[in-house]
């Protein structure tokens, strides 16, 4: 069997596994967010928080909950890193500098997991396990909570109530993320990922002498890192490190984990709005983009254009033998389309066009299938835009899922889709115009520009992967990338929740012969087209300067 065929079969196996879990997990999550029963352990937690989980919140209250919880998270994680020098279990590592601690705190709370530090040389047990890994769980739970609030906006009528943030946060963590992560972590260890607290110690070598190991709670963090579409590695090499991703099978499992929840949430959405077909239409949109991009990536990586790869006879730079070109390509597309940003191979050493695909994947706005929760609300906003465009074409007031898309709704949606591109392009322009940021580049020319464009794209879209040639541990990059992550996460949430509130207040419009059937393939086609055109128009000039220039030259 050739490597191309093996790659395609891996993709098919992945699709089969995801398809098997789609209905049960999607239905289960719908039950989690609609049930009125509380588990006993949840009651204890609510008591600890001092919140009543049965109070309904309107959108401003829901948003305040999100912001207060996230602000507390950033503050706590910042202090934890600043105090690392005096904490127990720090393996002798010192306090992290203020700008890097800010960057890292924001990065993990915003579900980005951009890393400007070397995990194995900077972070001890306490920061990794009680700080970073915790945000892997709760930032994902916050994303799902906001998505569920938007879905309730569609599902409910004549009320402004969107549910209770604390209940959504706790249930997402306790009922969905923790059990799935625990199972995944145990399987990962069975395959070879490490899970211990041995810290830094010496181990003998074949040729004599010894090597230094840094042992930690790796598998438990790895599982939620993928499942919560976080992506921040325990080690610098992330999921390319054999202790994080030991075998070809663990590689496939990790890709499965990072796609699992974002895809199944479309089922949850369908169930909650009372039409699973609407969920299938969104799923079909995500699936079309995902498979299309994966096919393109496999094609360009196997074709290995680029002088160094031509001489080498394959694009294996930055890739592991056990995963090969196929497994690495599937991972790269899945991780950039889901806002995960974990890597099992290094994107900077992909072919010019391959690197461009990873960038374009993020520029779509992390929607195919996107991050846990953020993917669903992102694509629903684009669905509203698509419905609006269709409405303009036929001259009808647009409506989606029985709700009118009036001027207030379309304004909120339009602002939402402008935020991230504005952040990416403005910050990139400044970094290129100023004299010092360019010193951080490893490569020159078009690829050097790509390193910086990639960094801001990754940050503002809350992905977190990198063209890691860029030395991002400078005050400029720590600060501006931190701001891009912060605004790229929370500003869109403001507009999503405002939109949810406005939708929930409406009374439903009855379906008539003139209603656009949003569960049909025609709408899926329209939505895919709208997504690609909006992204294309926004980013084409920037992409032309970077990956396109590099790809066409080789």
């Amino acid at each position: 069997m050739g490597p191309v065929l093996a790659g395609v079969l891996q993709l098919l196996a992945l699709i089969a596994a995801l398809a098997l879990c789609y209905v049960p997990l999607g239905n289960y999550m719908a039950k989690v967010y609609t049930s009125d029963k509380h588990w006993r352990v949840e009651k204890w937690i609510y008591k600890g928080i001092g919140a009543n989980p049965d109070t309904e919140m309107r959108w401003p209250a829901y948003l305040r909950g999100v912001l207060a919880f996230s602000a507390a998270g950033i503050l706590f994680l910042y202090l934890l890193q600043r105090l690392q020098g005096v904490l127990p279990g720090s393996l002798g590592f010192q306090a992290i500098d203020p700008d890097q601690a800010f960057n890292t705190a924001v990065s993990f709370v915003t579900n980005t997991n951009w890393q400007s530090y070397y995990g194995e040389q900077a972070m001890g047990h306490v920061v990794q396990t009680a700080g970073l890994a915790v945000q892997n769980f709760v930032s994902a739970a916050v994303g799902i909570a906001v998505a569920v609030a938007l879905v309730r906006g569609f599902a409910r009528s004549r009320t402004g109530d969107l549910g209770n943030f604390w209940a959504d946060l706790v249930r997402g963590t306790i009922r969905i993320l923790v059990p799935l992560a625990a199972v995944a972590a145990i399987v990962l260890v069975a395959l070879g990922a490490i899970q211990n607290f041995s810290g830094i110690h010496e181990v003998g070598q074949f040729m004599g002498g010894s090597q230094q190991w840094n042992g930690g709670a790796v598998a438990s963090q790895e599982a939620i890192k993928e499942l919560g579409t976080n992506g921040g590695g325990y080690f610098n090499a992330n999921s390319a490190h054999p202790f994080e991703n030991p075998t070809p099978f663990s590689n496939l499992l990790e890709i499965f984990l990072l796609l699992l929840i974002p895809l199944a949430l479309t089922r949850t959405f369908g169930v909650m709005v009372g039409s699973v077909k609407q969920g299938y239409a969104i799923l079909a949109t995500m699936g079309t983009i995902w498979l299309g991009f994966t096919a393109l990536m496999m094609w360009t990586e196997f074709a290995h254009h680029g002088p160094a790869f031509q001489i080498a006879g394959g694009a294996m730079e930055g890739k592991e033998v056990r995963f090969g070109v196929g497994g690495s390509s599937i991972f790269a597309v899945a991780t950039t389309l889901t806002s995960t940003g974990a890597v099992d191979s290094f994107h900077s050493s992909f072919t010019g066009l391959g690197g461009g695909i990873t960038m374009l994947s993020m520029m779509l706005g992390e929607i195919a299938p996107g991050g846990t929760g953020s993917g669903l609300y992102g694509i629903l906003i684009l669905a509203i835009i698509a419905v609006f465009i269709a409405g303009l074409m036929v001259g009808r007031t647009p409506e989606y899922l029985g709700k009118k898309i009036g001027s207030r709704e379309i304004k909120l949606a339009a602002i939402y889709i402008l935020i991230t591109p504005a952040l990416v392009l403005v910050f990139t322009a400044f970094a290129m115009a100023l004299p010092t940021p360019g010193n951080s580049m490893t490569n020159s020319g078009a690829h050097g520009f790509s390193e910086i464009l990639y960094a801001y794209t990754s940050a503002a879209n809350n992905n977190g992967s990198a063209f890691a040639g860029l030395n991002a541990d400078t005050q400029w990059f720590n600060t501006t990338l931190g701001l891009a992550m912060l605004f790229g996460r929370f500003l869109p949430m403001v507009f999503v929740l405002a939109l949810a509130g406005s939708l929930a207040e409406q009374k439903p419009v009855p379906v008539t012969a003139g209603t656009l059937r949003t569960e049909k393939p025609l709408f899926t086609g329209l939505l895919v087209g709208a997504i690609l055109i909006i992204t294309g128009l926004t980013y084409f000039p920037a992409l032309a300067l970077g990956p396109l220039a590099e790809g066409l030259a080789s």
């Binding site: 709760v138 490490i194 610098n236 099992d344 072919t351 080789s554």
Partner: protein, 222 residues
């Protein structure tokens, strides 16, 4: 005003309490339970898949190592010890993301692009070295025989594996240096080649440390 300040403070307090409770669940209980279970069930794997030779721990089967001669005076990088099978190139790892040289404590890749002048040079040099080192009396390696993994560095800088093709072109050299027959070494490589999981997952590969341990056994016995 006072009212809104106290509301904000109350809200932040709730956020902080929520964080602390969830930290207890996901940052203390969860990792400890997972550690307990996996240390019990998969002890060796949870601790890094240590591998022994002659009763001594010689590394992890998951982590690549260097097989070099001792550093000579005035040398910056040691020469490979050609008695042993060699892993993927250790050189060429740039200063930016560190020259790991199979040092486990800092993993990472070169992050060089396909049109990067350094990478083009490293690949060319590596290819020339692989051809030269492995061509022995009666066996010449052609540049087209050299697979991509032999001349590029991995993502982690710790890749434990090489492709079976790269192992194959090292067989004659290893046999020659150790006074073994080509057939013996060929069999060794064949025995240590792992095929794709279930026939289609990943790529066929040879674990260099395990192969060298077996080779050492063969040399000592022979």
């Amino acid at each position: 005003m006072n009212n809104s300040v106290s509301t904000t403070a109350r809200l932040l307090g709730a956020g902080l309490r929520a964080l602390l409770v969830l930290t207890l669940v996901t940052g203390v209980i969860y990792p400890l339970v997972v550690t307990g279970i996996t240390q019990g069930l998969f002890n060796n794997k949870a601790n890094g898949s240590e591998i022994k030779a002659d009763g001594k721990v010689v590394g992890s089967s998951l982590i690549g190592q260097a097989y070099n001669l001792p550093l000579k005076k005035g040398q910056e990088t040691p020469d490979p010890d050609l008695k042993w099978f060699q892993g993927r190139p250790q050189n060429g790892l740039g200063s930016n993301s560190v020259n790991t040289q199979y040092k486990l404590i800092l993993s990472g890749a070169t992050n060089r692009s396909g049109d990067n002048a350094d990478l083009i040079k490293w690949v060319k040099d590596a290819k020339a070295a692989v051809v030269k080192d492995n061509s022995v009396a009666g066996y010449t390696v052609k540049p087209s025989d050299v697979p991509a993994d032999a001349v590029t560095s991995s993502g982690s800088g710790l890749d434990p594996d090489i492709s079976p093709q790269y192992a194959d072109i090292q067989v004659h050299r290893v046999a020659d240096k150790n006074g073994l027959s080509v057939a013996q070494v060929e069999k060794l490589v064949k025995d240590h080649t792992t095929s794709r999981t279930l026939g289609f997952i990943g790529e066929p590969r040879v674990n260099v440390l395990e192969l060298n341990i077996a080779l050492k056994g063969l040399v000592t016995k022979g």
